[in-house]
Symmetry: C2
């Protein structure tokens, strides 16, 4: 067969339980000797100013390098690189809309989202980056050490060298703590996945001004603020194992039951096998038939294109637009590109409930237009509420009205977080965690199931079980103790 390996890292891989223990220690460390709180605040403020960019909406005709294909109408870059916007026709078993047509981003490559970690004074620190992305709310957000496309890391095309990439391709030594493919936004991406990695080094690492070493505890604090920690950081953090971690005895508090939930699953409502069987049945019986179509043909679904946007005649859902970026701190000094812009903010909410002293999260099995593997586990509520304003009550997402009207004292987390700013323009979700108490019974409808954080952690060792919105919320939940 004699295949040529493209990357051949063969780095040693750490024990999951050991990694879990070390990350719990880092999460409990809110003060770092490497990057003290004052310096962190100063650095973030400074980099936010330095990274500022002028983002202007432009007509598609001015998006240099990008063009609509004459026959299909697909929007693509002349080089064949980056991504394209095409059409998809979807048929599934949702009762309220069982088939529809929409534009979708096609980007077959698997990129790397990688956080480099190193121990200082016995505590793991993450090398985090301030990165400008044109679609970000606030423009600059805290990002993983590396966000690289496949073309980047295989060196296929010219383009600036990606700092620290060698730690993730095995060109340098190191130890793998996390390494798993995970899905991205299924509503807007076709089958898109990235490789989520955490690699530990013991080497001396030169740290550029865009980078700082932060403990998990410091990142936890930043996750309490709107639109500071980017989606790529959140998804990598969510994949850090909790398996094998030993928690103190429960103390009856929300935080105590959360630790119990992370640590073990002996008191879980459903066994792991039971959860897998339930998801298998849903994947087997809930149809998802995807057919790629030319972008031109999305007109049959009510989508139209003018000089500055591709949009839906109802005014709902999302638009495809083009922007011009004038920046200073990026590989190239400026560029133009299309972005997907949701028409209104999203809401992702976890309903959580203490059962036998262990916090359980109500997960939803959800199919999206671009799902690779059928249903994935999504937040209890995951939607753009405004899209449902005109629906009769029985077609509104389950639990949506509960979340919108819940007693504020039940809300444990309520922060706006952005989706990937390299593809989405000002795409924000309100991330909410609710401690439902006795408001919501333990009996759940068929497409929903209560799970512990430990059970979710086990599933996160594999691809395509938790969708990106669920992973984002999980990263946020880890701040709540």
């Amino acid at each position: 067969m004699a295949e040529t390996p493209l990357i051949h890292h063969e780095l040693p891989v750490a024990d999951q339980a050991d990694t879990a223990r070390r990350f719990m220690l880092s999460a409990a460390t809110e003060h770092s000797s490497v990057t003290p709180a004052a310096e962190l605040a100063d650095w973030l403020a400074r980099r936010t100013v330095a990274g500022r960019a002028r983002i202007s909406r432009i007509p598609f005709a001015e998006a240099t390098g990008w063009a609509f294909d004459v026959r299909s109408g697909n929007l693509a870059h002349a080089s064949g690189r980056f991504f394209s916007v095409e059409g998809i026709s979807v048929r599934t078993d949702r009762q309220w809309i069982s088939s529809w047509i929409q534009p979708i981003i096609v980007q077959a490559e698997i990129g790397i989202l990688g956080i480099l970690v190193k121990e200082f004074d016995g505590v793991l620190h993450c090398l985090m980056q301030t990165k400008m992305e044109p679609g970000n709310v606030n423009t600059v957000q805290l990002s993983p050490t590396v966000q690289a496309t496949r073309s980047n890391y295989l060196g296929v095309h010219r383009g600036k060298h990606v700092d620290y990439l060698d730690y993730f391709t095995g060109a340098r030594g190191g130890r793998v703590l996390v390494d798993v493919l995970q899905s991205e936004q299924g509503a807007w991406f076709l089958h898109k996945r990235n490789r989520n990695m955490v690699v530990e080094t013991e080497e001396d690492v030169p740290v550029g001004d865009d980078y700082r070493w932060l403990t998990f505890g410091q990142i936890k604090q930043l996750l309490q603020r709107d639109n500071v920690v980017n989606m790529d950081s959140r998804t990598v953090i969510s994949c850090v194992p909790a398996v094998g971690f030993e928690a103190p005895d429960g103390d009856g508090t929300f935080a105590g039951s959360l630790l119990q939930s992370l640590a073990g699953n002996t008191s879980a409502l459903h066994s792991g096998s039971d959860i897998l069987s339930w998801l298998t049945e849903i994947r087997a019986t809930r149809d998802l038939v995807q057919r790629r179509i030319p972008l031109n043909d999305t007109v049959q679904g009510g989508w139209y294109r003018d000089d500055v946007q591709i949009a839906h005649e109802s005014g709902r859902y999302f638009k495809v637009v083009a922007v011009s970026v004038e920046a200073s701190s990026r590989e190239v000094s400026g560029w133009r590109q299309p972005l997907v812009e949701p028409n209104n903010p999203g809401l992702t909410a976890f309903l959580t409930k203490r059962v036998n002293g262990v916090l359980h999260v109500l997960m939803q099995a959800r199919v999206d237009a671009g799902s690779l593997n059928g249903a994935e586990l999504a937040p209890t509520v995951h939607c753009q509420p405004d899209n449902y304003a005109h629906y009769p009550e029985r077609y509104r997402p389950s639990y949506l009205d509960y979340v919108l009207t819940v007693d504020p004292r039940r809300i444990r987390y309520d922060v706006m977080q952005s989706e990937e700013g390299g593809r989405f323009l000002h795409a924000q979700n309100r991330n909410v965690v609710i401690d439902v108490g006795d408001d919501i019974p333990v009996e759940a409808p068929y497409g929903y199931r209560w799970m512990t954080l430990n059970q979710l952690g086990v599933l996160l060792m594999h691809s395509n079980y938790l969708n990106v919105e669920a992973r984002s919320l999980l990263a946020c939940m880890r701040t709540l103790w």
Copy 2:
């Protein structure tokens, strides 16, 4: 959201370790009081005669109900049911052929392959069926209790009731022992998966003449014979958990090291995390770009169609043909359908090696034209050897020449097994297990990795890790102690 569940089984799910122990006991039981050996032999002989059918090749024009689409040339049934034969264009990173075009079977539905089990005298018995499929070598083979398409089990179309189906859809009580989606032949099927299930009942079950209760030990014996146990049975059997099973101390024999390998992985060469990281890297870096094309366009890849076949101009690979079936023991008394016919038999081989007293299997990460999730784990050697006869040595599959010339005393298993006879005409693989001793070193090329049977068992709890040919060989390996 108010989705309507299509099936709502919510059957209880058994503990994996308990299931493993009970199946090991059944595997050790070669004599059944329910179906004694003499009756089993008599029944198989009788059913083979009764199930005989006349299978004749016919021109496509005589395949009633099937037609080539005027524009695309796709071969489909007028009802839109069953499956279609379309085209696919594939680009990947194999060195010897990096892109090609071929016909492929498209069947988006997920079917059920289910074995019903029940305890008799404290030993689990499987309700196995003698089933005629037109493409089977020997026509009649031992099949799972149920092989049902989605249309069957949702009752979407008319058609005879599928016996025992209610046990798998939750319409009757029972307990789920195995429930997982697994892939089918990636070389010929696009993204095809079936739901592999084992369900236990305690009810009295009426047993038709096509069915008998067999122990795992009895099925083991039948797996030693050519073309008796069909592919659907083998894949379900391979998914029965070995996790948590406790083996006796190793005794230095092949069988003893196999039991150690099934039982635990403390002495595994690579940790589970290491194996997942290795596979993640291969999936991320080994490209697989699939583009569906009209069957007519496969002419660009050297495929032609005449009245009786779609074939490749080289005479290699496979053909699509049509057959007429005249049978008595099936839902309908006769029918006509297309089948895929490989031009020559396949070879699937596991190289196995005892390391620290524990048997390890050399798995290959392999991408096929129709893979859903990038590379899956395949047998060490998995090919149609005749397709490579004209290749220079460096492009021949790794280890192929070793398997073809190995000292026969190293061969532990060597049996011909058929692929699914409802889609493939006389598709056979030589299934081989070799105890390599010191012939092959423990160092393996990049795309290969030694794993224990226990590690493979853990991966089999999830979808799309082991391909169907690897699962078939695993089922066969379970006979070797």
